[in-house]
């Protein structure tokens, strides 16, 4: 039988050819803007997309390419394009296939930046969105319009943690010949490979668990290579000649990687949100240990869930691994290794108690990030989701007493001890 390398091996080796000149074992950091061409024919071939190669680091860079190919390998995607951030990845992916007059059907439970992009920014360019309840996939089907060109959601919704029914949504997409794009930041390919369940593209903020150490901002779009762009005339940016590259037809030339190549040829050239090679190097170091870190994130999360659900100062705890969560069955199905390391909970005493809790933890860092090796806490209503309106807050499942916890890799006994300090401070508020 055929043998394919397994996840942990790919996490260490995929995408990297050992440097032929000096034999560097780590992926070298190619900190260069541009590349010397051996001759004019090679140069023109690269510029005309007749051969792979590097011309200018806004478009491709050898260090970034290692990261792209490694992530594509881990996801089981045909190609990947890295970007300067996760939001850049989302913007580039959407605008690669949607134009003025087109429409997105998106989950209502998403990171505030995603919601703002679709609710405020994209409409200025004529791209509109309708939002559906991720716990009710029929609401997704019902939101589809004649001009709908994309279905978008987060597998683990932020911050309500509802789990998207990937297969159900993918079927709705297939029934209507609409691609299904998943923001897979919270799950990483270690916890779920979304293409195995019918998703067509994934987006990651690799800043989070993929990189895992809070040292570099980055994003990636992964092309699942499994959407039949040519089955209708709905996606001309993929199926029709593209004048800026001598009339190239991305579907004809690149087949399963047509979508990713369109992003590289257009967005990276005309918009330019490229990833820095140093960032790619830092993120590669993180990915090398992805599976081990995720296992520890999950085991610490399970320990914290037990601690929080039994704590007198906690009003409620929300995580898809809890049998009380509405997405418990979905989590078992799509995330059998664990449903991520984000936990939300309510501190007894409401907004002020929550604030006191956060201000009196020391090990847990109060900041606007998730997926760091270190434990993080934040109050979403006043920070990450502060710019969306009250209705959207409710739709996103955010309450004023909510604390969002990103469980880190510390010894869990120390996290609990730190939280005890926070709860004691919160209790003083309640008692006051």
């Amino acid at each position: 039988m055929s043998h394919f390398h397994h996840f942990d091996t790919l996490a260490l080796h995929a995408g990297q050819t050992v440097d032929g000149e000096f034999g560097a074992r780590a992926a070298p950091i190619y900190q260069t803007t541009s590349y010397v061409f051996p001759d004019t024919d090679t140069a023109s071939s690269i510029f005309n997309l007749e051969r792979g190669g590097h011309a200018y680091s806004r478009i491709t860079n050898p260090t970034v390419a290692v990261l792209e190919q490694r992530i594509a390998a881990l996801e089981g995607g045909s190609a990947a394009v890295c970007t300067s951030s996760g939001m850049a990845a989302t913007f580039c992916a959407i605008t690669a296939i949607l134009s003025q007059g087109d429409h997105i059907v998106a989950s209502s439970q998403m990171y505030g930046g995603n919601i703002s992009l679709m609710k405020n920014t994209l409409p200025r360019f004529g791209i509109t969105a309708s939002f559906f309840d991720p716990t009710d996939i029929e609401s997704c089907r019902n939101a589809i319009q004649d001009n709908t060109k994309l279905i978008y959601g987060e597998l683990i919704g932020n911050p309500g943690l509802d789990i998207l029914d990937l297969e159900g949504i993918a079927k709705i997409g297939a029934d209507n010949h609409i691609p299904f794009m998943v923001d897979a930041t919270f799950n990483t390919p270690y916890l779920c490979r979304c293409f195995d369940y019918g998703a067509n593209m994934t987006i990651h903020s690799v800043t989070k668990w993929m990189g895992g150490h809070g040292t570099a901002i980055g994003g990636v779009v992964v092309d699942g290579g499994n959407f039949d762009w040519g089955a209708s005339d709905k996606y001309p940016t993929i199926t029709d000649p593209y004048a800026p590259f001598s009339g190239i037809n991305f579907l004809e030339e690149f087949g399963p990687s047509a979508f990713a190549t369109r992003i590289r040829a257009e967005a990276m050239r005309d918009i330019g949100p490229c990833m820095a090679p140093m960032s790619a190097f830092l993120l590669l170091q993180g990915i090398e240990t992805l599976s081990m870190r995720m296992d520890r994130h999950i085991s610490n999360t399970m320990a914290m869930l037990e601690y929080l659900t039994n704590h007198d100062q906690v009003v409620w705890v929300n995580h898809p691994s809890l049998s009380t969560h509405s997405s418990y069955a979905m989590a078992k199905k799509y995330l059998p290794r664990g449903a991520g390391s984000i936990v939300s909970f309510g501190v007894k005493g409401g907004r002020d108690a929550g604030k006191a809790f956060i201000e009196n933890t020391e090990l847990a860092s109060h900041l606007a990030n998730v997926g760091d090796a270190k434990t993080l806490v934040i109050h979403p209503a006043t920070t990450t989701h502060s710019r969306i309106d009250a209705d959207a807050l409710v739709a996103a499942g955010i309450t004023e007493d909510m604390v969002r916890l990103s469980v880190g890799l510390e010894d869990v006994a120390d996290i609990k001890a730190d939280f005890e300090n926070g709860f004691r401070a919160a209790q003083r508020i309640v008692g006051a």
């Binding site: 394919f4 995929a14 005309n48 004809e252 990713a260």
Partner: protein, 269 residues
């Protein structure tokens, strides 16, 4: 572009330029279960160097109407129907794997318009083991995994490669899943049944080039050696680190060899 062959709609990529039959022609033939997209970039290179390029998807593959053709001989005739309908002249064929069998058979049947043949990863025959045939019939995804697993050398399996961001293994899987449900099985049975390779190879009159992968587990060195022995003075290039998928695993080196050979034997004016 789409055209009719014997009343069926067929698709061929033309490398990004309209097909112009006044130019010398390069035809790319794909292997079992693949389609025109296998030749992306290579086809574009020649189209922008003064050649009319034709990269057909066999019937039942990608956008060409089925059913899939059941024998190599039928594929050679189908190719000739295209050549005649387009009035293509001064033809160089670049073929991979199963496409090589078709090219050999075509060359022996219709030698008049041929100027050169480039055969990549092939022998005189392609015997297919029962396990793969059975999987192709009953579990196409398993068959695709077998072929992708055997087809790529270490470069493919480590998702390396010359095209930034592309995963060869995953891309190969997705490409093969675009065929009609029985497309792969029909291709493999056609390969398995083909027995005229020796006679057809000996009848080839035009210059022939053979590209051999040192780590090819599907067309092993014994098979490629036999092919070379039955050709008249072929130009042989070895790719020691490549598996069966030379055009994808080492695209730049492969194209360099193709370019030198085709420019020499089928020059543009």
């Amino acid at each position: 572009m789409y055209f009719d062959v014997n009343g069926k709609k067929a698709f061929a990529s033309t490398g990004g330029k309209p097909f112009d039959n006044s130019l010398p022609v390069v035809i790319f033939l794909h292997g079992s279960g693949l389609d025109h997209a296998f030749w992306g970039l290579h086809s574009r290179f020649f189209a922008f160097r003064g050649y009319a390029v034709l990269v057909p998807a066999l019937p039942g593959h990608a956008h060409s109407e089925g059913p899939a053709l059941t024998s190599i001989e039928t594929m050679a005739d189908w190719l000739n129907d295209i050549v005649e309908s387009l009035d293509a002249k001064d033809i160089s064929i670049v073929a991979h794997s199963q496409g090589c069998l078709t090219a050999i058979e075509f060359a022996s049947r219709y030698p008049e318009r041929l100027r050169s043949i480039s055969l990549i990863a092939s022998g005189l025959a392609t015997p297919v083991n029962d396990a793969l045939l059975d999987a192709a019939d009953n579990d196409p995804d398993a068959a695709i995994d077998m072929m992708v697993g055997w087809g790529f050398g270490p470069v493919g399996h480590f998702h390396q490669g010359a095209i930034p961001g592309i995963s060869m293994v995953a891309g190969g899987r997705k490409l093969m899943r675009r065929n009609a449900p029985n497309g792969l099985a029909t291709d493999l049975r056609a390969c398995n049944a083909y027995a005229n390779g020796k006679q057809a190879a000996q009848a080839i009159a035009c210059p022939v080039q053979v590209l051999v992968g040192g780590k090819d587990r599907m067309a092993r060195s014994k098979a490629s050696t036999e092919l070379i022995e039955h050709l008249a003075n072929p130009a042989v290039s070895h790719f020691p680190d490549c598996g069966h998928m030379i055009p994808i695993e080492a695209p730049n080196q492969c194209r360099s060899q193709l370019k030198d050979f085709i420019f020499l034997n089928n020059p543009t004016s």
